[in-house]
Amino acid sequence: MSTDIGEFTDQEYKYGFTTDLDTDIVPRGLNEDVIRLISGKKNEPAWLLDWRLEAYRKWVKKPEPRWQNVHYDPIDYQDISYYAAPKPKKSLASLNEVDPEVRAMFDKLGISLAEQERLSGVTVAVDAVVDSVSVATTFKKKLAEVGVIFCSFSEAVQNHPDLVQKYLGSVVSNQDNFFAALNAAVFTDGSFCYIPKGVHCPMELSTYFRINAADTGQFERTLIIAEEGSYVSYLEGCTAPMRDKNQLHAAVVELVALEGAVIKYSTVQNWYPGDAQGRGGIYNFVTKRGLCAGANSKISWTQVETGSAITWKYPGVILQGDGSVGEFYSVALTANYQQADTGSKMVHLGKNTRSSIISKTVSADHGQSTYRGLVQIHDTAIGARNYTQCDSLLMGKDSGASTFPYIEVKHPSAKVEHEASTSKIGEDQLFYCRQRGIPEEEATIMIVNGFCREVFKTLPMEFAVEAQRLLSVSLEGSIG
């Protein structure tokens, strides 16, 4: 058994390598000139530069939020480089021309940039983002045949400016909060998806985010628009090298679902979590929000958060259309010195809107997990319903879990349910497994996976397997 543990601790974070890429990087620091430089590099229209500058001017006046239940040393925003891009050898005519170094890096991460069906028979289109830019997007042509636009944000600005201008900031404005304003000022790339009316997107869309360069931040922006009666399932994955210094990742994701549209958004977040002493790791400060603009639309978030030194995010849904549905399924694991303050916001505006929140947190070692959620039922939301369930599992005496549910109800017809539980892995459960010949480590992982199953089963198959594996690897060093 001891050799098994050794093997696992060695592979604790297997994505921690760096790739030697020729990178175009701007000097550290943030001011209006840097924003102009970024906007210029990306050849952006004037309205977008103005939008960025407006965000920046709001940001400098905003105090950094301190209410979250996490602790970190102050971030020096002038000590970060806001733009880093692997230099393309030349402009790409096809995927075959992707820099071999970049391709090799993605191969090492297990992400294929080749347009082939996976073994499982599921086809997944990938937008690969390294540091500040998208380096490749697969299956673009095939998706275009049914009218689906899937490309990097930068490309969308060039090729679909009207759509971008119409929807950018429509769900998360450029002054929404401190980190969202920072993102709006300096965001460099991300993914853009547009699903036309009545189209069921023929494959899973995904973005793989990779931080490679040192001393940079990653500020990506994703925008997904699902027109009337359309359907899309979107996945994102993230990794970063192991470094002693913390790196900031402040992303914004906006989703818009029109009448009868369905957007399913799944995240497996595995940013570098820092080492066993709590050194290094990514600060993952993210704003994700969906707008159910049309009647009977649905937005479903699933997140599995195993990485990052600090995770701070509340994917939410604004339920504007009558009969619209918002869902949030989350597993947040904190081990070593990781901290997570995460949950969901469900804002009910329309009639008969429904939302459900299922949150599972697992805290090991010195890990601290907080669920923070807001359920808001406005006076227009006749017959609205919410169900919230927060379960916390504690492993180890130094770990902690907290729950902060906020509920605001302004209509008497609302039905709001909240259930919460905190448990430890039972000695009885472990003994039972061990008596059957299942060693302690394996038994613990089995019990934790069981605890999270309700959430994992909402993930697409391949991601569910990956999520279980990640959970095992993240826990291996923490048991016994």
Binding site: C433, R434, R436, G437, I438, P439, E442, M446, C452, R453
Partner: protein
């Protein structure tokens, strides 16, 4: 001897529960331990299986090897199985998956290849029929929402799958109606054999009508105080545990 217990003592805190147990179980036999509530029967079962909250002294040989220094999983690998009085629920862990993981873990220790899901299902189905287990229970979480009888059947199913040398059945009859008791007893009888020893722990003689033991031991206040043939159970049922020992019973820890 598959099991040889010598002067086994167990404490929780300052409270001594086992006060010098002596017992020998030959391979291939069925023995029963009877005794009133609180006499230490279940503690004996837990201590033998390796439950960690007891302070244990004495000596236990399992198949000639020292048992008490082993972890619970190592004892399972050696071939010791405990059917729990209160089977534990594992929310979200599929029953079939749990059984396969356990079997493959034990097989690995015995130098056998792991069974894949398909082979395992074929292997398990025969045993599910043996305990008349409803197939729908296999896709549910381990013991979650199972009735009392279903939980006990699930324990016997695990016994049938793991094929141990020594199976301790802790109050397997409690909470079973007469039909369920018959089914469970039939399955247990089918699992008797020259290479397997069963130790039944029970309050009531009723179980022993269906699973007839080679020997019966009486435990009170943390010791085996009487041992005898199967008729001893009937006598206990009639006279209670506190009746004086008649002449024909054997000395403590004795064998016929």
């Amino acid at each position: 001897m598959i099991l040889k217990i010598e002067n086994l003592r167990a404490k929780v805190g300052d409270k001594e529960i086992l006060r010098g147990v002596n017992l020998e179980l030959p391979l291939g036999q069925v023995h029963a331990i009877m005794g009133p509530n609180g006499s230490g029967k279940s503690t004996l079962a837990q201590v033998l299986a390796g439950r960690e909250e007891y302070t244990v002294t004495g000596r236990v040989l399992f198949d000639g090897e020292d048992l008490l220094t082993q972890t619970p999983e190592a004892r399972a690998f050696m071939g010791l199985f405990l059917a729990f009085q209160y089977p534990v629920e594992l929310p979200g862990v599929g029953n079939l998956y749990f059984l396969r993981t356990a079997l493959n873990s034990v097989r690995k220790q015995r130098g056998l290849e792991a069974l894949d899901a398909v082979d395992f299902l074929a292997f398990a189905q025969k045993r599910m029929d043996l305990v008349e287990m409803d197939r729908s229970l296999m896709s549910r979480s381990v013991n979650e929402g199972f009735s009392g009888g279903e939980k006990k059947r699930n324990e016997i199913l695990q016994l049938a799958i793991l094929e141990p040398k020594l199976a301790i059945l802790d109050e397997t009859d409690s909470g079973l109606d007469i039909d369920a008791l018959r089914t469970v007893a039939k399955a247990v009888n089918a699992l008797r054999g020259p290479d397997r020893t069963l130790l039944l722990i029970t309050h009531y003689q009723r179980l022993l009508d269906y699973i007839v033991p080679d020997q019966v031991h009486v435990m009170t206040e943390g010791q085996i105080v009487r041992s005898g043939g199967k008729d001893l159970a009937l006598e206990l049922e009639h006279d209670g545990y506190l009746a004086d020992a008649p002449d024909h019973t054997l000395p403590v820890g004795g064998t016929p």
